[in-house]
């Protein structure tokens, strides 16, 4: 029988990410059915994932680089490079 220690140390993230085999997944599922403490831990760990994701989104909002200019520069760079390699 899976213990809370095992679930918290080894299996919780893999369970969230769908990385367990069916036997391990079943063991975690059965444990969560009877253990309210681990259910809370897994729910909170899922919230951690969502917080990291949301924080990344918030950071992105503050950034406004000139993407059109960068794309044009890279396109030009590639065209020059292609031209010089075809001349060799």
């Amino acid at each position: 029988m899976l213990s809370c220690h095992d679930l918290a140390h080894k299996y919780a993230s893999d369970y969230i990410d769908g990385q367990l085999n069916w036997r391990q997944r079943l063991a975690v599922f059965m444990h969560l059915l009877i253990c309210v403490r681990c259910r809370r831990f897994v729910t909170q760990l899922r919230l951690v994932c969502r917080v990291v994701k949301q924080r990344g989104r918030d950071v992105i909002k503050g950034s406004t680089p000139d993407l059109d200019a960068l794309a044009s520069r890279l396109h030009k760079e590639y065209a020059t490079q292609k031209k010089s390699s075809s001349e060799l």
């Binding site: 918290a8 990410d17 809370r40 831990f41 909170q44 951690v48 924080r55």
Partner: protein
Amino acid sequence: MTVSDKAEQTDLLIRLKAGEKSAFDLLVKTYHVPMLRFVSRIIGDAQAEEVVQDAWLAAIRNLNKFEGRSTLKSWLYTIAANEAKSRLRKSKREAVVPLSTDNEPLFEEGRFSSNGHWARPPSSWHDDSPEALLGSEDFIRCLEFHMNKLPEVQREALQLRDYEEMEFEEICNILSVSASNVRVLIHRARVKIHSMIAHFEETGTC
């Protein structure tokens, strides 16, 4: 148009190699800001823009050699990570934290009893959504502090998985670590951020 799946990335690669301007527009619009965010976690905001610009130029120089064995996205992130790490080495500020040196216990002593049950179980949190938690400036400062305190490779793995939503295989390629190590890195990082949030929820302090 987005570049969300492998087929679209393959199509984009063909158009890039053909030199289509619209493909370069799409490439930059899709990946520049996410790469910037990823790199700033490695090297800091001040140098991130310059590093990503260098990464773009390196990618363009090597575009014809890229055969699409990995996805375009993970190829670009690998180049960006290498540029950032090489910049760090040059500035001699790199604090290398190899996997083996992160031997800190995952949970503080006494969290589990000898029979494997929680001795001190997780307490319930007042705020149960990202919006509620991130609504506090103090919380954001604390989160940033703890994210930056994570060993570099843990921070990168967490960001690639939980923000970029990359597959494990892609993360392994970018970080050059095995799949099992990636899973351990992500779990350790999440548990550390979990501990930070739990502490903040209990005490209101960082």
